[in-house]
């Protein structure tokens, strides 16, 4: 906090697509022209010096960025990595002149293309917007006007930032859309935002951002709302555009693996302070700060084998009988359907589910079969629209289904489930968003205790004292302090909330947990702790997890078996190792290839033998 971290980011070494720049130890010393501040062609695209930003005024002011120095050369990519609350978006907004009114720079300077923009007013920024700085926001749908066609909004950017006239603007817009890889661009001009997919919208936003040929592009988590395969295509597009147009890109992300793969230089931010910075290669090979090392260890993409041994121990204990249990049982749903019901926690056969009774539309789930072996973790993987959440809801008894057979713990599910679930003791669902799934008026104590009150016959539910004891016991198992008992969900942090949700699911001691993307809203460090918790729980008692996720790197790290879904159909199902190393399916390969930071993971392993 006392000294601002001084940096001279080495972004000057050449970096091609295939071979990121070699960190040159001599490079930083050659930058002595900082004082020049001329707007000449050699001025860096973005330079921040000792930047401090606070929100609020007077006594309420709270500083969130504590003296950050960054340097982004023209034509390079600088990735700014940090968790939520680290101040990375604030820095991005400041660099684009987009700070909200309550935020202001209290110290330091911002230079954009050599010009001091620290104290610029909104109208001064306007001259630079579009032509000097382009901004790609995080939420594509929320960033476009829903009542105007894509063509109009793109045309507006062209008219404002280029010399395009009324006559030429349409042709230029088509050209731009084609440039960002939108097929049938002439027709898409008349589409409204809601008619396009998330990936297409993000392409339109990129087209708008580059319409005025800026030199600096600020991309604030441009892909965090997108599926992995779409993410890869969008980032590939950004890379191409960067090379073509000579863009400097400030890439904001929480995903270290993604940053490692896509940047020349890397800056790691923690609580508004730079903790690690330098050429990406250098940071990967030898992270200076313990926080960076922690991030690498927590990101599933960069530490795929973290739980390998524990998975093996658990698999042996589950005693599926075979040496390579996963490969056989997972791939043979027929076998388990006929006889071995005893070692299957959940069996799904030929599941078909239509929504809204519309026969014309393709079903949300179309003939999916898989088996969750007792005491194992089975991951359902797919992109949005693949039907994975629908399957989880069917298995949990929240939704009916059209055809097929679902067996949970030996009980065949009815195709139209009861409103109130009488089988809560067998299986519990952990929702994706714990804040939404917990009653906002209930204290943590009431939320966890509620299942016990509803099922009074159980061993822990007979009396108030027994129930209170059980609540404390479960709370301890999810490693929460007793102080949280009287708090409301909104007073807890994201990780604590998910622990409360897990505690509520565990309090009836079910055998099976269905986890619907339980970590997708969490930072990687918090995610790592929740995953750790899930392993500990499995080690303490026999639990079977049906784990829904879109994150293949997480699957590789924690699951025994995996079922890959695409548009409601099962692509394949089998042991994780077999699917990852030896899949015959093109779709699976595409998903695996979209995992960011595969190179980074290799670099890490080399660096730490």
């Amino acid at each position: 906090m006392t000294t601002s971290t001084s940096t001279a980011l080495d972004t000057s070494t050449p970096a091609g697509p295939g071979h990121p720049g070699v960190p040159g130890p001599a490079a930083p010393s050659s930058r002595e022209t900082l004082g020049g501040a001329g707007a000449g062609p050699d001025a860096p695209a973005l330079r921040l010096e000792g930047l401090r930003i606070a929100y609020g005024h007077g006594g309420n002011a709270r500083e969130v960025v504590h003296g950050v120095d960054l340097l982004l050369e023209r034509g390079r990519t600088l990735a700014l990595v940090g968790q939520s609350g680290s101040g990375k978006s604030t820095i991005a907004q400041a660099a684009g002149g987009l700070l909200p009114l309550s935020g202001h720079v209290t110290a330091g300077t911002i230079h954009v293309a050599g010009r001091d923009a620290t104290a610029w007013t909104r109208s001064q920024w306007r001259s630079l917007r579009g032509t000097g700085v382009g901004y790609v926001p995080q939420d594509p749908l929320g960033s476009l006007d829903p009542l105007q066609t894509v063509g109009r909004q793109l045309g507006q950017a062209l008219r404002l930032h280029t010399d395009a006239t009324r006559a030429t603007v349409a042709a230029r817009a088509v050209e731009l859309l084609e440039h960002v890889g939108i097929h049938d661009a002439a027709r898409r001009l008349d589409a409204y935002p809601h008619e396009l997919s998330g990936g297409q919208l993000q392409r339109v936003l990129i087209a708008i951002a580059i319409a005025g040929r800026p030199e600096l592009l600020i991309a604030d988590e441009p892909t965090s709302a997108l599926d992995v395969t779409v993410q890869k295509r969008i980032l590939d597009l950004l890379g191409e555009l960067q090379r073509e147009l000579g863009l400097a890109v400030l890439f904001i992300t929480h995903d270290l693996a993604l940053a490692a793969e896509r940047s020349d230089a890397l800056a790691v931010l923690n609580h508004g302070r730079l903790v690690d910075h330098g050429a990406t290669r250098r940071v990967l090979a030898a992270p200076e700060d313990p926080y960076t090392r922690q991030l690498f260890a927590d990101a599933p993409a960069t530490s795929p084998d973290k739980y390998a041994e524990r998975i093996e121990v658990l698999a042996r204990r589950a005693g599926a009988g075979q040496d390579d249990a996963g490969a056989r049982a997972g791939a043979a749903p027929d076998g388990s359907a006929t006889g071995t019901g005893a070692d299957a926690a959940v069996v799904v056969e030929g599941l078909v589910k239509h929504y809204g009774g519309a026969e014309g539309r393709p079903p949300a789930v179309d003939g999916v079969s898989f088996t969750l072996r007792r005491g194992s973790t089975h991951a359902l993987v797919g992109e949005s629209g693949s039907g994975k959440t629908t399957i989880a809801r069917v298995v949990a008894g929240l939704e009916g289904f059209g055809a097929g057979r679902v067996v949970v713990d030996g009980r065949v599910l009815e195709s139209r489930p009861q409103h109130a679930n009488p089988y809560a003791r067998q299986l519990q669902l952990v929702h994706q968003n714990p804040l939404a799934a917990l009653d906002p008026k209930f204290s943590v104590r009431r939320s966890i205790e509620e299942p016990l009150r509803l099922h009074r016959t159980g061993p822990h539910a007979a009396s108030d004292a027994l129930r209170a004891g059980r609540v404390r016991e479960v709370l301890e198992r999810v490693a929460l302090p007793a102080e949280v008992l009287d708090k409301r969900p909104r007073e807890l942090s994201g990780g604590q909330r998910q622990r409360v949700a897990i505690a509520r699911a565990l309090v009836l001691a079910p055998d099976i947990l269905v986890l619907d993307e339980p970590t997708s809203a969490l930072d990687v460090t918090v995610q790592a702790r929740v995953v750790e918790l899930l392993f500990e729980l499995r080690e303490q008692q026999e639990l079977s997890y049906l784990f829904i996720t879109h994150d293949l790197s997480l699957v590789r790290q924690i699951a025994d078996d995996v079922s890959v879904l695409e548009r409601g159909r099962l692509v394949e199902t089998g042991a994780v190792r077999r699917v990852f190393e030896d899949s015959g399916q093109a779709y699976t390969h595409r998903l695996i290839d979209s995992i960011p930071g595969r190179g980074a993971a290799a670099g890490q392993r080399k660096a730490q033998p």
């Binding site: 906090m1 709270r62 939520s84 609350g85 929240l398 409103h419 008026k441 204290s443």
Partner: protein, 283 residues
């Protein structure tokens, strides 16, 4: 951890937990009203029914702070003695509207389908009849009198409460935590009264405070038309109505009782907001 390291998104508690001057004023005013209900003759110096032919239409003075009316009765005493009747009738009206209305709204929205269809159509019919006309029909059927007027006003306000409650419940019942409650095995009754109701009554409570004010006015209107309290008895609405004829020469006869009505309504809504924020802070 210093304040500086807190993430940006951390927001403080609502500021409404502090009791400010305005709250004290509202509380004090309601205390005076309570006293006026419990022991009106402590506050009022005169008999509200005592006619004094020599002192008609006097302007406000230390002896008669609210002036006197066309029969020479002390206006302040009439306001004070009318408090119990007016507040009581409004309470009855609001309780009927709130109780019946919320229950109907809750049930309609939660069960949906035909239950919702039936309730909603009834509500539509009720809303299509002007409220005052509806109250008049009811009060004619029940017979004249303050309590009957209150019941009539209550019935006329049921539809508004039903509508509001229904829309609130419709929002809440699709939230994930309702589904989560079903998932852990809760039946419809438990979910309805433990989860849905506590999360949807906030707006309805605010509405109640507002409705309390309009009930006072409606009951006054019915009294004015002769359906409510019979004339010699003081009642706020009746006082305003009686003063209307002298509004040019003696405006205080209308304005001062009207001011009391306004202050009552404001104080009630202020205190209601205070109670709600205190509750939230306590939990």
């Amino acid at each position: 951890m210093s304040a500086q390291t807190l993430p940006v998104t951390t927001s403080g508690r609502r500021s409404g937990t502090r009791i400010v001057l305005g709250d004290w004023v509202a509380l004090a005013f309601l205390a005076v009203l309570l006293l006026a209900i419990a022991a009106p003759s402590w506050i009022a110096a005169y008999d509200p029914l005592e006619v004094s032919p020599g002192n008609t239409l006097l302007p406000p003075s230390p002896a008669h702070p609210f002036g006197t009316d066309y029969l020479g009765r002390d206006s302040l005493s009439r306001v004070v003695h009318g408090t119990g009747r007016t507040i009581g009738a409004s309470l009855v009206a609001v309780s009927i509207g709130l109780g019946v209305g919320s229950l109907l709204g809750l049930v309609a929205a939660y069960f949906g389908r035909w239950v919702d269809a039936v309730v909603s159509r009834i509500v539509d019919v009720l809303l299509s009849i002007p409220g005052l006309l509806l109250s008049m029909v009811v009060v004619v059927a029940l017979g004249f009198g303050t309590i009957n007027a209150a019941i009539a006003v209550g019935i006329a306000s049921v539809a508004t409460f039903t509508r509001l409650m229904r829309s609130e419940v419709l929002t809440v019942r699709n939230l994930p935590f309702i589904e989560a409650a079903h998932h852990i095995g809760a039946g419809p009754g438990t979910v309805l009264f433990r989860h849905v109701l506590p999360n949807s009554y906030t707006a309805v409570l605010s509405m109640t405070a507002l409705q309390f004010g309009s009930s006072i006015l409606w009951i006054a209107a019915l009294s004015f038309l002769g359906y409510g309290a019979p004339p010699p008895h003081p009642e706020w609405g009746l006082l305003v109505a009686e003063g209307r004829e002298y509004i040019v020469s003696s405006p205080w006869l209308t304005l001062l009782p009207g001011l009391v009505i306004v202050l009552t309504v404001l104080s009630i809504s202020r205190v209601a907001a205070l109670v709600r924020s205190q509750q939230e802070a306590l939990r």
